[in-house]
Every structure is written in C-alpha cells, then in structure tokens.
C-alpha cells in the first residue's frame, strides 16, 4: 500500500498534466509494474470494443459515480500509458472504469485483475494497421482464460464477441440487435458458416450459437434483471441505448443501484465532443464520429431530417489508417435526398464513392467553405443543427474548431 502510494506520488512528479500519455510512459519506464500497483487496492471495470468504448466508459463511470468516487480515462487514451496517467491522479481505492484498446485487453486485464469486463463488438477497422478481427477475438478469449474476471458483460449478437466471452465463468448476455455482421460470416470456432435467421444466429458446422439473453434493448426500453428502464437518454440513437444497457448491466454486476445509475445517465449529453451541438460562425452544427463501416452504419441512422444538408469529412492519417477503401463498405446511399458536402484530406475519395452511389454532392476544401455552401443550399433550415460526420482525426480537428473537449 505504502509502495503503491509512493509510486502514485512519484508518477505525479513526472506527470505533465491530466490525461498525459507522456507522463504515463515515463512512469512506466521507471516502474513497469505501475499499472498493477495502481490497481492493487481498487475495483476495476474495463470496457473494450471496436466501436462505442469511449461512450460506454463515460456512461458507466457516470452511472457508478452517482454514489461512489470513480476514476476513468474517458478522454480516450486507452493503452497502458494513458491508463496509468489517469489512475496516478486518483485515490488508491477509487473504483476505476477503464476504456481499453482492443489490442491491449490481455495486458490490462492481467495487470489490473479487473472484476468486470464489458465487451461491446468487434469489426473491421484500419486494415492496413491492426490485425484481422478474428485474431483479436482469439486474444480476448485467451485473456479471459488467463485472468478470469468475476463477470463479463458481452454482446450476444456479435459471434466474435460471443465466442471470446463464452470461456468466462459468468457472462451477462446483451441482445444488441447489431445489424453489422459482415465480419462474422465465418465461425470463429470452426470457420464454418454463420447463419443469421431473424434475431437468432448459429454456426452451420459446430454448436456455437446465440446464447440465451439477459439484457434486451427494445424500442427505447432497456430490460435488465426484470426491471425496465424507459429511454430517452440525452444521447441520440439506438446505438447509445445499447451502450447504456451495457453500462447498466455492468453497474448491476458491480453491486450498484441501477435505478439511481439510470437516472444519472441523463447528465451525459456528449462524450469527448461526440454529439456536441455547437455554434459555428452563427450556424448550429452537431459533431458525429464514425471511424469504420460498423460505426457509419449506426451514425447514418442518427442523421437530422430527411433533407437536411450533411457534411462528411474523411482523413487517412496514421490514427485513421492510411487506406480508406472501407468507404465502399459503407451504405452511404442511406443519406437519401440529403445534399452532401465532402471535406477532409480524402474528400476526393468520398466524392467518387458518392458519385457511384448516385448521391448529390460537392467537394469543399474545409469546414468554413462547406458551411457557406450549406447556408446557400435550398433545404437549409437554421433551426436544425447541420450534422458534421467525421472519422477520427477529422473529428478532432473540428472539435478543436468549436472549442475542444469541455
């Protein structure tokens, strides 16, 4: 304990400010076991996924925070250095709610002995950089065998996640109604074909199938352990009701009062800038983040009005992945009659995608120019925020333009 406090104190010395990854890195050089020491006397929950991990981490820490002190890395620094930096500023016994990068689940789980693990989904993302999603599912499975948590909260509609979570001693299965299944057509257990029939799915060759459900999300009602919670949440869309269901299930597994927890979720109106409605030179815009086909599948469902102009921004920097071929896996045709303006460093890739989608579009050099075009467009309604949907670094650029993370 004293050693832990000393380490926390020492790490604060080299800490360059809240959320500092560099501080975390330097601390880990001095003491590689720092993460284990910083979590030795606290309860830990970890949240991982391809999509929704930042939002779910924020919802879970807000829900738990209604009646206990919480520490979280909810700004998205989700590998060991960022996690260490976040923990170093907290009391040694505060409960930790940690967002963890998909590839870091094994090492973070090993170091923290987390009691609760929330596994949302796995899908294709940054193919030029990360491993194929099946290998990630295998890593998750091995991690849960090596360091079994007390409870896993897992997506019963994602065969990759289901297969990984099945090895855990106790699993709470969430019916997410996930529609993106293109990365799960091959069975993770036997490479056989997965058949999706209605809400059920099963492997044609082995006994992997959708497990029996503990938590459902249906038309705005979240049902968990016999209790019903009526949305709306402050955050929009089906995808956030699902994220909230995972957060509430984790709260319940951690012994918290879920009614109080649910009440607290209303306070979450944005997550590190996602969903923020902001003023942009006199016009309201809403910031949306979508980084990959599964993320876009959900984001396109959230769009304002059937004819509201829309701005889409795509970059292909290192944090985005250098290859935007995945734009062709997104059903952008769903924007319907909206007038779309393509911006970002890969705006011409977007324009070609839109051209072949028969989508009315123009290309602009930046957000200012795009907003000028929006204001001149026939369907512009100043009372409705203009959606600006972007991938990772483009989103960060726009967030900085409207004042950064609050």
């Amino acid at each position: 304990m004293a050693a832990g406090r000393f380490v926390a104190w020492a790490s604060r010395l080299v800490h360059f400010g809240t959320g500092s990854v560099i501080g975390g890195r330097v601390s880990l050089l001095i003491d590689p076991n720092l993460l284990a020491e910083l979590t030795a006397s606290r309860e830990v929950a970890i949240v991982s996924a391809t999509n929704g991990k930042t939002t779910t981490t924020k919802l879970l820490s807000t829900a738990l925070g209604s009646h206990q002190p919480i520490v979280s890395n909810w700004l998205g620094a989700n590998m060991t250095p960022g996690i260490v930096a976040a923990l170093a500023t907290s009391n040694a016994t505060d409960t930790a709610v940690l967002e963890v990068d998909e590839r870091w689940v094994d090492s973070v789980l090993r170091a923290t002995n987390a009691s609760t693990v929330v596994l949302l989904n796995l899908s294709r993302d940054q193919l030029d950089r990360t491993q194929e999603v099946r290998k990630l599912a295998e890593q998750w499975r091995d991690a849960l065998i090596a360091t079994p948590p007390r409870t896993v909260i897992a997506n019963a509609d994602d065969p990759l996640v289901t297969w990984a979570a099945l090895v855990a001693p106790s699993v709470v299965w969430v019916a997410t109604g996930q529609e993106w299944t293109a990365d799960a057509s091959g069975c993770p257990a036997c490479s056989g074909r997965i058949d999706f029939v209605g809400s059920e799915w099963s492997c044609a060759s082995c006994d992997l199938k959708r497990p029996s459900i503990d938590v459902t999300v249906d038309h705005g009602t979240i049902s968990i352990a016999g209790q019903n919670f009526r949305s709306p949440l402050a955050l929009p869309g089906r995808v956030n009701r699902v994220n909230a269901a995972f957060a509430l299930a984790a709260c319940s597994a951690m012994g918290a009062n879920i009614e109080a927890a649910f009440g607290a979720l209303d306070d979450v109106t944005e997550v590190a800038g996602r969903y923020r409605v902001a003023d942009f030179n006199g016009t309201k815009i809403r910031l949306l983040l979508a980084k990959n086909p599964a993320g876009w599948h959900e984001a396109l469902e959230l769009l304002e009005g059937p004819s509201t102009p829309l701005i889409i921004a795509i970059n292909a920097r290192i944090a985005d992945g250098h290859d935007p071929s995945w734009l062709w896996d997104v059903a952008y045709e769903r924007v319907g009659d909206r007038f779309v303006i393509a911006i970002g460093e890969r705006r011409h890739d977007l324009a070609v995608r839109f051209r072949y989608g028969n989508i009315t579009h123009v290309v602009a050099d930046n957000l200012d120019d795009a907003m000028n075009l929006v204001r001149q467009s026939p369907n512009f309604d100043p009372t409705v925020p203009v959606d600006v949907a972007s991938n990772y670094t483009a989103f960060q650029d726009h967030l900085e333009q409207v004042g950064g993370v609050l």
Partner: protein, 268 residues
C-alpha cells in the same frame, strides 16, 4: 486473345457475379461491382448483379466474375470451393471476363502460399505463380506507368493505374500471360511489373475497390462484353480529381506513415 462482343448487347442484361464476398471481401471489394454496374446503367445497358456466397453453386453463364481480396484462411477455403464447383472454370472456357484482386489473383494462379507459407495448388486460370518472399509486407500507394489491355479493337491504353496495395506475396507471370503495367511507385508483382492478364482473366495487386480509381480499366473489362460501340463517354470529373491527387501522393511518398505529433499524443 480477345473475345467477340455479344451480338446484341441490349438483348439481355450483363450479368456480373461477385464470388464469395463472405470469404474474399475484406477491403471494400464490393465497390468494383458497384462501379461496373453504374457504368453500364449510365450508358443505358441493363445489368444484373449476383452475389454468390461460399457454399452456394457458382453459375457458369455470367459475363463477368469478381474475385476479391482476403486473409490467408478464407483464401484457401475459397480455392477449395471453386475447384470443387468448376463453375468459374467453365465460365472462363466460354469467354467470361474475370477481375481478381490481390488474394483473388493469387488463388487463380498455378500456386500460392497459405498462412503457414506452404505452397498450395491454385485454380490455374491465370498463368502465374505466387511465392512468399522475405521482406516486409507491401503496404501503401501503388502507381504504374500506362497500362494496356488487348481487345477486339487492338490494345487499349488504360492510363496510369493507381490504388493501394497490402500483400506479402511475389507473383511471377508465366509465358502465357502479360502484365498490366510497369510499377512506378510501390511493389506490384515484385519484379517491376504489376498485374497478370491471361486471356480475359485479369489479376491485380491494386486492392479493394480498384476500379473506383481506374475507370478505363473498368471500361476495358466491359468493352470485352458489350463491344466498343456501347462505350459512350461518361462524366469522370470526380475520379479525375481523385486520380490527380493520388498521383501526387504516391510520388511524394505518402507511403510512409505521416506522423503528426498531435496525432501521436491523441491516439496513444
């Protein structure tokens, strides 16, 4: 070798088959079917797009087959199923056009390496052979010199080919094949050439939605089916802007990750 255009192209729809997108389709490969379909529709030519998943019978009567890229495991499974079905073999014998992307090109050759590096027998529809080489995976922009394909009207210049590549193989073209182009930037086949053409079967390391950036390659494949008279000009201004931008990016060696300090701080 060339095929003769269909006698009456408007008589029935051009049939395009996407083969096993559930196994071979990791990289936006579906884009190629969309590009081909639209370029026919915009010219008033009917098109029928058929998706054939693994396990389903492979029709042998379609005009154009698309085989996408994919990971090592599914690549072996796709080869096994196509060998068993023989539908694609019969279609090629009848003169069907095939576009095979990356892993798709590798399995259509005589031999290709599996996940363990062991050499496997391929489908033999492209005269080439792929081996694993001891070098880092080729990941980045690929740009070629002018590419050519032979049609009934002689050799068509397809312009520069531009795209992204992501593979670890080296493909050696055989005596009964030609290359598509020479590599200007990137790896391609690994010997300075890019792509393999045997008759009407075309393979390329331009991965994923290769036709999105290369409309003249798309049109050349279609011309094999509907003939040159049907190929009226289209508005490709969006594509031209993208091509110009990507030529610069490749030549400026945007291949290497662009590490901005801000991005590193944000993400790690």
């Amino acid at each position: 070798m060339t095929t003769s255009p269909r006698v009456n192209p408007t008589d029935s729809a051009v049939r395009i088959v996407s083969l096993y997108p559930d196994l071979l389709g990791t990289y936006g490969d579906g884009g190629n079917a969309l590009v081909l379909s639209r370029r026919l529709e915009w010219r008033g030519i009917a098109v029928e797009h058929i998706t054939v998943d693994a396990g389903a019978p492979v029709p042998d009567s379609a005009d154009l087959y698309l085989v996408g890229g994919g990971e090592d495991g599914p690549q072996v499974q796709a080869t096994r199923e196509l060998e068993l079905s023989q539908g694609l073999h019969r279609a090629v014998d009848k003169g069907a056009v095939v576009l095979a992307i990356c892993a798709g090109m590798q399995i259509l050759g005589h031999r290709f390496p599996d996940a363990t590096g062991k050499s496997r027998v391929g489908l033999g529809l492209l005269d080439c052979e792929t081996v694993r080489v001891d070098r880092p995976r080729a990941v980045g922009e690929l740009l070629t010199t002018d590419a050519y394909l032979s049609t009934a009207n002689g050799r068509i210049n397809l312009g520069l080919l531009t795209g992204f590549e992501n593979h670890a193989g080296r493909t050696i073209p055989g005596p009964n094949s030609t290359m598509l182009a020479s590599v200007e930037i990137g790896e391609g086949n690994g010997d300075g050439s890019e792509g393999v053409v045997t008759g009407t079967v075309v393979g390329t390391y331009l991965h994923g939605p290769a036709l999105a950036r290369n409309p003249r390659l798309a049109d050349a494949l279609l011309e094999w089916i509907v003939g040159p008279n049907a190929m009226t000009p289209l508005d490709d201004s969006d594509v031209d802007a993208l091509r110009t931008e990507r030529f610069h990016a490749a030549r400026d060696h945007e291949l290497a990750p662009r590490r901005s300090w801000r991005d590193i701080l944000r993400r790690s």
